[in-house]
Amino acid sequence: MHIPRKRPGSLPESAATPESVFVNRRRFLRNLGLGLAGAAAGGALLRAATGGFPSARNPAFAGEGLQLTPFELVTSYNNFYEFGTDKESPRTRANQGWKTEPWTVEIAGLCANPMTLDVNDLIKRAGGIEERVYRFRCVEAWSMVVPWSGFELSKLIALAEPKAEAKFVKFVTFLDPKNVPGQRGGSIDWPYVEGLTIEEARNPLALLATGLYGKPMPNQNGAPIRLIVPWKYGFKSIKSIVRIEFVSKMPLNTWRDLQSEEYGFYANVNPKVDHPRWSQASERVIGAGVFGGRQPTLMFNGYEAEVAHLYKDLDLRRWY
């Protein structure tokens, strides 16, 4: 029989803060954070695509058992090389003159219905947005849990009606070096490009996100519309998309172009295949604190049941 031993100094259960109290406190802190961030960004949080809000959480993607990463950290610790290679720059520099409204998205390539439309019209045509809680795992071995708002990529694919030759979907980010400092130099061939196989793009997990924490997408997180493919490393989840193209050949995604021996096309989260410079077996959880330690990384970032079938004939060590 297991008898729980009380450690010296441990508190009785009755001393725990009731949920209603700490949830309110969190909400208070979160609102405070939102207000401050909004004030600092000059209301930029509200400039992105506002279509579809408020969004209801889809209970099938409620992320049970996951602890959300605080809003302030999700919107502060960003990799967005268009605004600087460090984590701090995007929050300030993405809110200094770069316009994310109005925003036009072009759907092109091998499809029956190519179109160019405003992002809010796209949201409408896709049938509105919903909220989903996803794990987010960066290739740099850190992770977050984020409540995204958006619509399934498969809905856009249905609107476009790709032809049979369309084997891949290519995504392209904006090019605006005048207002976007990182695009004026550096070693990246702008604009940023990403891609998925058409089967991956049709997977119900693939999301076109237009917001987080129930609000329009902050600029530093990829306003107004970005991809979220939670079973892949974060760099696959391209931000601020202006063009979605159906193509027959595997697109050359930006990081593979830059360092093909380190970053592949698939970039599926895989604890068994290391990055050449660091282990991918575990990850640091954003917000866990100095002594928060690491947690083991899950195969396909915990979405094995949903996506493993896509790769049953693929050597994941070779096709990293």
Partner: protein, 206 residues
């Protein structure tokens, strides 16, 4: 006159100790203030900060000799050259912090073992070990026991440590190695200028 005044300050240890303590405390102050950029991934933040400072001090100590050769008349350079040992040992001090934060970052022994096969990691560790030998042999008694020539010969290994540190820092950056160049390119320029300067008189004599 301002010059001797500046030389007197720079020649003293106070400013250097203030700088060292401030650099060590700075990331912790940011963490304790709840700064979201620092506290999002604090172990990574501490690790990166200590590594950058260690590199800066290593580059600084290696710059002192070429500066002395190139500007022998400069009082400022002479003042700075008084701190060679402290600057060098501080580079190792921040390398110790860096390794400690690495330990924290990878969650101890088991995590460290998963990283040790990567050239990125062992290049840093090798640089650390070279710096450790140089720091230990900078104790007064050991300097005396070794004699000036032996000590000098051993401490040329600092250049080897710098080469390893350059690789380590370049590998740390994801999309290039511009950060490492910011530190090491000025040092390379100083070294080349020094070699040119030191060769000229011998040629004139022969």
């Amino acid at each position: 006159m301002t010059r001797p005044w500046a030389e007197r300050i720079l020649g003293g240890k106070l400013w250097l100790w203030v700088l060292i303590v401030a650099l060590a405390a700075y990331p912790w102050l940011r963490l304790l203030s709840g700064d979201p950029f620092a506290s999002a991934n604090p172990a990574q933040y501490l690790l990166d900060h200590a590594g950058t400072v260690a590199t800066a001090f290593l580059v600084a100590v290696l710059s002192l000799t070429p500066l002395r050769v190139l500007f022998p008349a400069s009082g400022l350079v002479r003042s700075l050259n008084r701190h060679r040992r402290l600057v060098g040992v501080t580079a190792f001090g921040f390398a110790v912090l860096h390794l400690g934060y690495f330990w924290l970052h990878v969650d101890g022994w088991a995590g460290a073992m998963k990283e040790i096969d990567k050239p990125f990691i062992w290049s840093g560790l090798a640089a650390w070990m070279v710096l450790a030998v140089l720091a230990i042999t900078s104790l007064n008694a050991i300097v005396r026991a070794m004699g000036a020539r032996g000590w000098k010969r051993l401490h040329r290994a600092a250049y080897f440590a710098a080469a390893l540190a350059f690789y380590h820092q370049a590998a740390q950056q994801k999309e290039g190695y511009s950060e490492a160049l910011w530190f090491f390119a000025p040092l390379a320029v100083l070294e080349i200028a020094r070699i040119v300067r030191q060769r000229r008189p011998t040629r004139q004599m022969s």
